[in-house]
Each structure stands twice: as C-alpha cells, then as structure tokens.
Symmetry: C2
Subunit: 491 residues, 2 copies
C-alpha cells in the first residue's frame, strides 16, 4: 500500500480518509456505521480519556455505569428529548435465536419477543434520571456529580470515521443539584474543563459560547459549547455542556426535601465529549505527510532509529543510545527504540511521520564518531544535528515547544479565518471564497437561522460568551440585532 | 435504611445482596438483568482495570475497540461457538422508531427493518477475526496482541448483581500467532497474569487448571482457568484463557504467508475477566459488618474522622491532622478526611466499615492532649492507640499487613476446605456437610461428569495444572483414573 496521501488542497475529504487508514487509527467494520478503532488510534483516545478523567475527578466527579439498554417508554417522558433521540436508533426486539427446524439456519425466535422494546442508548439522561429517583430524597443527597465512560449508538446512514459513526465512544456527565444557580455553575464549569482540555492537551483553540435555541440539545434549557475551526475552513463542535433545568426531574419525578423541609424538583446538567475529538485532532494539526500529534497525547513521543550496515554497528549504536533512552524515560517521555532489522530506516522514517510521532532521533556510525544525534521534529519537519550530550534537554524542551507551536499555529489560522461580515452579499461571498468563521449580526429568530442554513449550508456555531454587546442589523433580515454570532459550515 | 446485614451463617445469599446494596456497590436497574454500578463499586472496578491494564501492556498488549453489534451470520461460521453464544442474546431487528399515526405513541417503524439482524456482542471472537482477516497477510504482521475493554450482553433470566447479569463489563484479549506453540504459550502466560492479579491485588488465592472438555469455552481447544473458593464453600471461576487453535482462522479464512512463502492458517487465543470479579472480591473477604477491601483496591485506603463537640475543637483537630494527612498522601496513600458536620462519628464509623475502608483514624480532644491517634483496621476490627508521630509509618505498614492478612486468611480457608474424597458416599457426604473443593478421581468421561452434576450439582471446576499423576479409580464410576480433579458447587 502506498503511503502517499492525497494532498489536502486537492481533496480534503480523501486526505482525511486516507490518513485515518494509513496512520492505523481506525477503519470501517462490516457492520454498517460501526468503526474499528485500531491500536494506534485507541492509544491516542486512551490518553485523552486519562487526561479528561483526571480533570473530572479533580472537579469532584465520580464514575459510575448505567445500562446499555433503555426501555422505549422512557423516551416519551421528555417531549423534546424524544424528538431528538428516539428516532434513528438501534431497537432490540427479541432475546433469543434458534435453529430453524426446516433449514437449520439460525433465526430469530418469535417466542422470545420482548414485551417492551429496548433502545440501545443514544444518550443516557432518561435511564440515569430514572435511577437518580432512587438516590435522591433529601438535600443531603445532593449534589450528585457522576460521569460515565460508555459506548452509544445513533443510527447514521452516511458515516465518516470518528466524525459520524453509528456507534461511538464518549463520556457523559450527569449531575443533580439543589438549586438552579448551582446547576448553571456546574454546566459552565464543565465547559471550562473542556476548553482547558482542548487548548492545553489537544492544542486546539476553541470559542466558548452558547447554542441558538434551534441547535440546543434535545431537552436542554441552555447548551454551552466549544467550537473549533478545521484546516478546510469548516467548524467542528468539540464538546457540549447542558443546563437541563428541571426537565428530567419533572419527567422522572425526582424531588428532594430542602433544608426548610419543602419538596422541590431537582436541577440537572449533562455534558459530553466523544471520539469525535479524534477527528478534530486530526483535522487541526495534520499535514500531507500524515498525522501530527501534540506531544501530550502522542502514545510514542520520541522514536529512535539506528542507522547501520552491519549488525555489529547496531550493537555499538545501541550501547551508545541506551543511556540516552533511559534518561528520556526517566523524564517521563515515552520512547520507542526501533531496532527492527526487517525494515529499512527510510521505511521507519515514513512510518513515524505518518503516525505523528512528534520527535525522531536518528543515529548512524558517523554520529558515533562525532558524538552527535540527528533530531527531526514532526510539526515543522525540520532536522537538526546536535551534540549527543545535549539530547535529553533538547528533546524535552522540543516536546514542549511542539505542543506550544501546534496551538499557536492553529490559533493563528483561526484568527486569520474569522471575519466580520456586514451584508448578506459579503456573507455569501466570504463563506464561498474563504470559509472559516463569519462573525455577523443575527436577528435572533429561528426563521432567519433556517433561511441562512438553507441558502448557504452555514449554521450558527455559537453565540460567543465573550461577545461584545454591539447594536447592529441582522446580516440576513436587516432587523435589529444586539450582538454578533459565529456562523460557519460545520462537520 | 438499617445498616445491619443478615449474618452470613443465617442466609449467605441475603447477606450478599444486602451488602452490595448497603455498601453502595451496585443495584438492579429497571431494565431486566442490567445493573447500575454505583460510584463506590465502579471506583473499585476502575482500580482493577488500571492494575490489569498495566499488566497487559507490560506483557506487550495494546488496546483497541471493535463494534458492539455482530451480524447474525457471523455466529454460524464456527459450529461450537454458535451453540454456546448465539442463543440467549439481544437481537437488534430495527433501526428506527416513529410516532404511531393513530395513537401518537412511539412505535417501531416496520419500514426500518434490518436485512440481517444484529446481535449485541456476547463475546467478540467472530467480529474480531473477521477484522483480523484484513490485518494479516504475512508472518511480519504477527503476532497481534490486542485487548478490548467493553460491555457485553448475554441474556439471563435469573440474575445476581456482579455474578450473573445480562449486561456486564469485561476485558477480552484476542491474539493471533504464527505457530501453535506461541499461541499456547500466550494462553498460559495470560493465565499467569490473571493468577498474579487475583493473588496480589484481589488477595484471592486461586487454583490454576484446565477445564474438562464439557466446560470449555465454545470454540476452544483448551480452556485454562483460575478457580477461587468463596466463604460459603462454593467455587467461582475468576478468569479464563483459551487456546482456540485454528478454529476462528478457519471460520473467517485468516491465513498468512510464513517465512518460507507458504500459506498457513493463523493460531488464536482469547482471554477475559469481568465485573464478576467484584462478586469474588466481596464473597472472599467481607464479613457481617460489610465490605472488606484489600488495600491495593480500596478507593479510600484511610478514613480520618475527627471527634469533637464544639466547632473550635474541629479546627484544632484539623490543624493537628493536616500534616499527617499530607504525609500519608505523599506516600501514595489515598486518604479521606471526613469533617462533614452533618454526620456523627458513630454514623461515619459504621459507614466506612460497611464500605470496606481498610484503615480508620479517629482523633478527639484527649488525643490532642496525649499526642495520640486511634487506629482501627477493618479486616480484624482491632483498634489501637498509637503515638501521633508514629502514625504515618504505622499506617503504611498496616495497609501492607492487611493486604497480606486477607490473602493468608483466604488461603487458610481454602486449604481447610479442600478435601480428598475416595468414594461416592464420601463425595456426597462431604459435599453436603462441608462444601468446598473435593479432590477426587474422575474417569475422564462426559457421562460421569454429567451424572455427578445431576445428582449433586457439583461440577468439575478444573484439572489442576500442578496436579500429581496418581493412579486411582473414578469416585463415581469406579473406572480407572490417572489423576484427581477438583469438584465443587459453583457460582
């Protein structure tokens, strides 16, 4: 299989698909819409999980696990929720197979039909709030700050690896509070956690904002989101945090006795990020040579490749390198020493480039003579010859530099691709010619939002939290507007 | 809710159910057979996962993720496998719901019927080997050493929390090898990993052995297992590792070109442990006061409870204790300082006892005067008054001592409850009166195994790997036998 990718500027979509495949991140399974996450892709996801999980725990959350299946009737209890989630889903109707008496084939046993169908969870608010009912009696039982790492299923006809798959992996936080203020604070706090994670781990700059009513989570009073801009000028929603009000408490009859002895409905939030972040990571940093990973999320941070002709040279190089590798590992850096004799150095270089290893060290016989090593950085593809003795400090500093550089580069790109537009003509022209985020006035109505979407495919990505109050006129309708919102075409 | 448990010797089964509930480990959901794993239970499971995951990685394995759904036809490809797994399962037949035109209710959309039903994975050999077909061409692609952490579903009518639930969490390793010897070595290596984990983390002594042909995993050539003995004299299978031969390679046509350029079928293993281990953990160590946890798996290892009348005393105690808590945490010990003013010390003591916190420290005003602390250990319920300054060293040593003590106690129990029996009368009598493991001669036939099970409910738990060759006569049939096997009633 050729390791060359279609260049991004030729066909961004093909580039993405080829990269996901050739960097061994994931592949389509034979089960429609379900992906296989391969070891290299899963190792990156595990690093994301670990970092997020620590952040959740540091903010007082605990993990738990709730059932995969949700009775069909649960969805009907929250009116908005059922419209959003109960339609395209996997429905379990039977619990047994049997051998067909005539053909001997395995068939569904019609005698084992469920009384009520079970839905494979598309999200778990309903089953969790049905459970919380039993956990909450008094204000003393609140808050409940629980997160779940799980698989979910939303039936999709057109799928793309990581970005849109029928089954995906995610985490979903579900919290219960005694007051509205506390629940809003929680939803906002988790938005900050997501933004912190996106910027400091994924090296993806994000805009924090709220969704327009039409784009809210089904059942939410307010949806907070972080929005990122991909290299092709399309936006990607990288995480959401919802203030759910008392909607689910009402639907599942979850009340508590407050300090004054009065019964009240419980306040709720939910928040989640998914394997979709893998897509965001790929599309923010990677290049025509393959994956580019921020060092903090790279399963292998440094690949060390010996260059030799005879096997005796390999021994000599290995002896020289082992103390260096040991030093790096003691610094908490993950190092792979690749002395596989079945592969040539050129093949290895291409492989680590494709897989996004941030730093590559190469050492050959001449380096032994000169006490040098060659260091290559994946983000800029620059190479440098440095003294062997400086290598540990240099590599450690370089990993930090790459992490910073990826973020700066992405931020610069986003800033250059966020444009204020002030007329409908300008809106359409800039969207068509440049893409990116369009900062424009909006009259606040769903009709305008819908019309813009229909004419241009652009949607309101968010109403930025740090937006300035600014009187103006809606870019589409001309009606009065109190501030700008961000439009973009989106994944 | 009363915190008192039914004593074990009164009703072991009730004791177990009450403990799981009162120690906040898990509960039944409204979805038949599916459990909710509560935060305290999940925290223990996470510690298990972390330890196992590190052991898997240290032995060269990587994690990956495969689809939740398996096409029905995959199961038919491996004859033994389909009999074992495709029968009691959750069957997805439709992918959409809709509003009924007349009633407005949500109903299954009959237009959205799947061409081929999907089975919610009961185990993933079939989908994984169908995937491996695309990953393996040459001997260079081997071995594949992959593990998956996932939920699986096996429809169960009679369920018990952790021990038998329709949905449960587990890990399943699936490896592919170029030679039979390598695959057998892998299956045996993972059995050692499981035994190591059981003994050094769970503090559960286990017998390593192989299963009789009738008890093998459906599709395996050899099933290795670790068997543990619970406090009520019943055995529990705590982990299995299977040598699958070339059965799945044949079924999914997975071949490779060996070093000599010849095409061969690939050799396979699979191995797994599940949330069932939570049940084993509970039933091995816990007592009539609640959960007893080995310190290595306790989410909170030390609970610190201040005892005070006035809130000023609390401040004084807190100031005294903070350096101690800090010292313990620096030693990697997880400490909870419980200064919740809403609860009395007695309530807290009972709570931590029920939840299995290994060490409790209590400090009151008199301790401040005397520079002492009271230390209570959960395993023996002993209390000791020690000097404040000795506390960090004492607590650290005590945690290790508790870990060792739990293992020794469980080992002693198992040794006392493993008995050689030499006649059918003795077999039945000892089984009835004492339970435990019966070491007895077996003629090697499935008929005898079946007959013993029918008459006594005892099954062959394993043929111990370290068993001595010993000529004898089958305890049931009187026919010749070449060695003893272990019988027991089992969970």
């Amino acid at each position: 299989m050729s390791k060359k990718l279609t260049p991004r500027n030729e066909n961004y979509s093909n580039w993405y698909n080829e990269l996901v495949s050739k960097a061994d991140l994931a592949e389509h399974s034979e089960v429609r819409g379900c992906m296989v996450i391969k070891p290299h892709g899963y190792a990156v996801w595990e690093k994301m999980q670990r970092a997020l999980d620590e952040m959740f725990k540091a903010t007082g959350h605990q993990n738990a696990y709730f059932p995969l299946f949700i009775p069909k009737s649960y969805f009907s209890r929250e009116a908005a929720h059922v419209e959003g989630f109960a339609k395209e889903c996997a429905v379990v109707t039977h619990y047994r197979l049997k051998n067909d008496e005539k053909t001997g084939d395995i068939v569904v046993d019609e005698d084992a039909k469920l009384e009520e169908e079970l839905i494979v969870r598309p999200t778990s608010e309903t089953i969790i709030w049905n459970t919380y009912k039993g956990w909450i009696q008094s204000y003393r039982d609140l808050p409940i700050l629980v997160n779940q790492w799980a698989n979910v299923v939303r039936w999709e006809m057109r799928t793309r690896l990581f970005l849109r798959t029928s089954e995906f992996l995610w985490q979903e936080g579900h919290t219960a509070h005694a007051t509205k203020a506390e629940a809003v604070e929680e939803a906002e706090k988790m938005l900050e956690v997501y933004a912190d994670f996106a910027e400091n781990w994924l090296a993806i700059p994000v805009i924090k904002g709220t969704k327009s009513p039409a784009e809210r989570f089904a059942g939410a009073i307010e949806t907070y989101c972080i929005e990122a801009l991909m290299q092709d000028g399309k936006a990607l929603q990288a995480g959401t945090s919802h203030f759910l009000g008392q909607n689910f408490a009402k639907a599942f009859d979850v009340t508590f006795v407050n300090k004054e002895g009065k019964e009240e409905l419980v306040w709720a939030t939910s928040w989640g990020v998914s394997t979709r972040l893998m897509g965001a990571l790929i599309m923010t940093h990677s290049d025509d040579n393959g994956l580019v990973l921020p060092p903090k999320l790279a399963p292998i941070q440094v690949a060390v490749v010996p260059i030799y002709r005879q096997i005796e040279q390999l021994d000599e190089i290995r002896n020289k390198l082992l103390p260096l590798i040991d030093d790096l590992r003691k610094r908490g850096i993950s190092v792979k020493f690749d002395d596989d004799d079945n592969r040539k150095p050129g093949w290895k270089f291409a492989e680590y480039e494709m897989k996004g290893v941030p730093v590559r060290i190469a050492v050959g016989p001449r380096d032994l003579e000169n006490n040098t090593v060659e260091i290559a950085r994946r983000d800029t593809l620059e190479k440098d010859m440095i003294s062997f003795d400086d290598a540990p400090d240099t590599v450690e500093a370089l990993l930090e530099e790459i992490q910073r550089n990826l973020y700066s580069k992405a931020l610069k790109y986003r800033e250059e691709n966020t444009r204020e537009v002030n007329s409908w003509e300008e809106f359409k022209e800039v969207l068509e010619r440049e893409g990116g985020f369009l900062s424009a006035h909006w009259d606040g109505t769903e009709e305008t939002e819908e019309a813009v979407k229909k004419e241009t495919k652009a949607t309101i990505r968010c109403i930025p939290l740090n937006g300035q109050a600014e009187e103006g006129n809606c870019v589409y309708s001309g009606k009065p507007s109190r501030g700008r919102v961000l439009f973009a075409k989106a994944y």
